[in-house]
């Protein structure tokens, strides 16, 4: 008889994996983890405080604040997502059709705002647009865009745009060019071909990009709080209520969170059900007008304006915060920061907390997310349950993060033995989980079933199939998903603010520095954000490194 020791751990797992019961147990654990830690707490918390919701109806002032904040949230999200699609589509096009090496660099640049923590982005963009001593406003001597809804829109546009571009570039790379070519050989001008053939075929990906932008805008807290001024949308209101602890705040908290969660879920479900049925009109054609639109001059104009929007509205404002960092090197702030004196001691503690939590959350979610991704991608539970799981996995992503945090803290307050760091970890697990499972299940779905079957006919056990076929073929998505979780966790503000009182992650600390005057100088804030951007940039380079060799 061969013992475990002779075979090594891998062999041991392989042998175990051919037992149905063991496989069932692993899947059961993954599903339990998902329901117990990811899905239920963020929703149940709100339901537990359901009895409080009546109070807000007796407080008309608070009620009107709440309703206008909710309205603002959805209006901004809708507007931002539409602008994202309009501005992102030509950019995705441009990257897809890349004709020179430098467009490769553009591709990398487009990712920057995605990976920079939103708090740093928000601060940087605020500096660029509204600080009258620096940025573009210094040219006019007055604040060009004051904090408020317009600045929020600018900030949301910046951080959701890269996600939209990424999704659309991915879809375009998977797209069968022959359809477009067929359309052209039949006499369609480029614009006609895109509108009647390419767009309708890629419709579902465009809808996915739209949903992603919408969800990010609805749920973002850190940067929004910085850009808001006195303006309030959902997350800003929740944050203000928590800080001020004014009368009836809990009721408003529950009310706003509930509405945001419920409406987001309804919108998501509607898009998911109606999206595939949505018909893009393809029968009507305006050959003369579309031929004109396809002309060389107009195409160039479109490309130039796309690049202009990208550099002026996205890239330069995002990295603007780096300028004071240069000054910091000269006047000694850098030295202070690096020797961690004064407020910097707290900063470096927060950095290690942020990256520590991000690392643990990434690791845990990768381990428990993989079986879940397999379950969804291979429909191991049968068609309907797998589809239901597929939908449920998205919920933590579409729920506004601060509402999620509020609900989570209410839920776990019933279990006082859970320490604060536990709550922090749970919040980050819930927020990042969907990013990994979504990209991973999509990647596994793309692995040809024949390969798996070929491996089985050659005698591979289920775990061997996973280890030798699925993993190597989805390596890219695994890394990409893990890095996405990691950066999302580092940048997370909303849910974190809601669950912690003593512990401070970097974004929470930076919001505090920015919001409480006198706590830190603009130079110090700039440098604090600068460090985050540099660290994020290093992560981006690692990501690029793993992506290399794929194309």
């Amino acid at each position: 008889m061969i013992t475990v020791k002779d075979w090594g751990l891998v062999r041991f797992l392989e042998v175990l994996s051919s037992k149905r019961s063991i496989r069932g147990l692993i899947y059961a654990c993954a599903v339990t983890f998902f329901f117990a830690l990811i899905l239920f707490p963020p929703i149940l918390g709100i339901l537990l405080k359901w009895n409080l919701i009546g109070q807000i109806f007796e407080n008309p002032a608070l009620m009107s604040r709440a309703t206008s904040a909710i309205y603002a949230s959805f209006a901004i999200a809708l507007f931002v997502s539409i602008i994202d699609i309009i501005a992102g589509l030509p950019m995705a096009w441009f990257i897809w059709r890349r004709k020179s090496k430098w467009l490769d660099a553009l591709d990398t640049l487009a990712d920057i705002p995605f990976i920079v923590p939103t708090v740093a982005l928000g601060f940087s963009i605020g500096l660029f647009w509204s600080d009258e001593t620096q940025g573009i406003s210094s040219l006019f001597g007055a604040s060009l865009v004051s904090p408020g809804w317009l600045l929020i829109i600018l900030v949301h546009f910046v951080f959701s745009y890269p996600a939209v571009v990424r999704v659309m570039v991915g879809a375009l790379f998977d797209y069968e060019r022959t359809y477009e070519e067929a359309s052209k050989t039949l006499g369609a001008a480029p614009v006609t071909a895109d509108r009647t053939v390419t767009f309708p075929i890629l419709k579902l990906s465009f809808i996915a990009a739209f949903t992603l932008a919408f969800a990010r805008s609805i749920s973002e807290t850190g940067a929004t709080v910085i850009a808001a001024g006195t303006f309030e949308n959902g997350p800003v209101l929740l944050n203000n209520l928590r800080t001020s602890q004014e009368l009836g705040y809990e009721s408003a908290l529950v009310f706003v969170s509930f509405i945001l969660i419920a409406v987001s879920c309804i919108i998501y479900a509607t898009i998911r059900i109606l999206g595939p049925k949505l018909k893009i009109p393809v029968r009507k054609v305006w050959p003369v007008a579309e031929r004109k639109l396809s002309s060389h001059g107009l195409t160039n104009l479109r490309n130039i304006s796309t690049l202009l929007v990208f550099f002026v509205l996205i890239l330069i404002p995002s990295l603007f915060v780096a300028l004071p960092t240069v000054n910091a090197v000269l006047n000694g702030t850098l030295n202070q920061a690096l020797s961690s004196t004064g407020i910097w001691q707290g900063y470096w503690q927060s950095i290690s907390l942020s990256y520590g939590i991000a690392f643990v959350a990434t690791l845990l979610n990768t381990i428990v997310g993989l079986p879940m991704a397999v379950l969804i991608a291979r429909k191991r539970l049968g068609g309907l349950p797998s589809t239901v799981l597929d939908v449920l996995v998205n919920i933590p992503m579409i729920v506004p993060s601060i509402a999620l945090g509020v609900s989570l803290s209410i839920f776990w307050s019933n279990f006082p033995f859970v320490p604060e760091i536990g709550l922090l970890l749970f919040a980050h697990l819930a927020i990042t989980y969907p990013y990994f499972v979504r990209s991973m299940s999509a990647a596994i779905e793309r692995v040809d079933m024949d390969l798996e079957e070929a491996s089985k006919t050659l005698g591979a056990k289920p775990f061997t199939v996973f280890r030798t076929i699925i993993l190597p073929l989805t390596k890219y998505s695994l890394f990409a998903g893990a890095i996405m979780m990691f950066t999302r966790s580092v940048g997370e503000t909303g849910a974190t603010v809601a669950v912690v009182s003593k512990l401070k992650t970097v974004p929470v600390l930076l919001v505090e520095w920015i919001k409480q005057t006198g706590l830190a100088t603009p130079m110090e804030i700039g440098l604090g954000c600068g460090f985050l951007i540099i660290l994020s940039f290093i992560i981006l380079l690692i990501l690029r490194g793993t992506v290399r060799g794929r194309h």
């Binding site: 069968e176 022959t178 359809y179 070519e181 067929a182 359309s183 052209k184 050989t185 039949l186 006499g187 369609a188 001008a189 480029p190 006609t192 071909a193 009647t196 053939v197 309708p200 075929i201 393809v282 029968r283 054609v285 050959p287 003369v288």
Partner: protein
């Protein structure tokens, strides 16, 4: 009139040369085929004519008009893709009338042409079906109808039958030719299947590694291949290595391995030149025992295979070379394995090629 002319056309992808210095003329109303092994550049050449890729060098003319800088949508061509590329979000009717619509023909004309085209490919009753609901043969017919409905007089076909079952493929190839001839179109058809090209083409161009080796009618390519690769790619050939030992006024004598002498009608050769003698399996006669006649060699049958309509013998010659003979299966009496035989072939059907510098195997390689 849609004649197509290519002048010194080259297409490079970075360092890879897909099409190298090709000049070609396709006549009006001609059914022309481009054939060659996969990767020989035939599809790239077709896409160059369609305007789907731009040449690195050279000029392309359609109807005597320089089209090198004209995009595909303005070239008035019909293109049938190997995968058909039927728009998955449109039904048969909308696929077929797509061309007339994007060209803004009036509604009545578009509808009439859509009707006519579907009538012609016998799919009137499926006009509301979506591509995913159709069989391979139906999809192929819709793709053809769609390309023709746009009013093109030049039809470009990229392996149009490649995705079909052998039987349907066989039937449809004659349908396609008939359609092209009935409508008076010019067609350029890309295929890797030489029998398909032989059966339907007026003329064929054989390509290898981006170059055109020979252009001619199917008979010319078969009877008078000008390149050793063509002799092997169009049909099949036995190749024997030898030296020219005697040059007479009409015929030459070649000394094969083992001192065997054969003759061929080829006066352009020099003495001592190394050559390859090509003999098609279907002209190689086999008789029992030792017989002396023109171009005869003794040997022994090593293998025999029954192939349905024909029977295929592999004969080991007395000098150690191998030859293949293909005989009609049901007309002649079968010979047995190990039987001693004489093979012979007529002087006037014996082809002579300069022996390739890189070796025979390399020159005939398909990849």
């Amino acid at each position: 009139m849609p004649e197509v002319r290519l002048e010194n056309v080259t297409k490079k992808y970075g360092k890879i040369v897909a099409v190298e210095n090709v000049s070609l003329q396709v006549h009006d109303k001609e059914y022309f085929s481009l054939i060659g092994p996969s990767g020989c550049g035939k599809t790239t050449l077709l896409r160059l004519i369609a305007g789907l890729v731009q040449p690195s060098e050279g000029k392309i003319f359609i109807k005597n008009k320089l089209v090198t800088n004209i995009p595909p949508e303005n070239r008035e061509i019909g293109f049938v893709f190997q995968t058909y590329a039927l728009f998955p979000h449109m039904d048969v009717w909308n696929n077929v009338t797509y061309g007339p619509r994007v060209k803004a023909w009036d509604k009545e004309k578009s509808n009439r042409i859509g009707d006519e085209m579907l009538e012609m490919v016998l799919l009137r009753d499926r006009l509301n079906a979506y591509p995913r609901e159709l069989s391979g043969g139906m999809m192929q017919r819709v793709a053809l109808a769609r390309a023709l409905a746009a009013g093109a007089k030049l039809l470009l076909l990229d392996e149009p039958l490649g995705a079909l079952d052998a039987k349907i493929r066989f039937e449809l190839r004659y349908d396609v030719r008939k359609l092209v001839k009935d409508l008076g179109l010019t067609a350029i058809h890309v295929t890797h299947d030489q029998s398909e090209a032989m059966a339907i083409s007026d003329r064929i161009a054989v390509m290898k590694k981006g170059r055109i080796l020979q252009v001619g009618t199917p008979q010319e390519l078969y009877m008078k291949p000008q390149h050793i690769f063509v002799a092997n790619f169009i049909g099949e050939s036995n190749f024997l290595e030898g030296y020219v030992s005697k040059v007479a006024q009409k015929e030459i004598t070649i000394e094969l391995r083992g001192g065997i002498l054969v003759q061929a009608l080829d006066h352009k050769r020099k003495r001592e030149e190394k050559v390859a003698v090509a003999v098609r399996p279907e002209i190689l006669m086999i008789e029992k025992g030792k017989k002396r006649k023109e171009n005869s060699i003794f040997g022994k049958i090593e293998k025999r295979r029954f192939e349905g309509t024909s029977i295929r013998y592999e004969i080991r010659l007395e000098n150690g070379d191998l030859m293949v003979s293909v005989r009609p299966a049901l007309i002649e009496k079968w010979l047995d394995v190990q039987e001693k035989v004489t093979v012979s072939f007529p002087i006037e059907r014996t082809l002579i090629f300069t022996y390739p510098k890189k070796g025979l195997k390399e020159e005939l390689a398909l990849e």
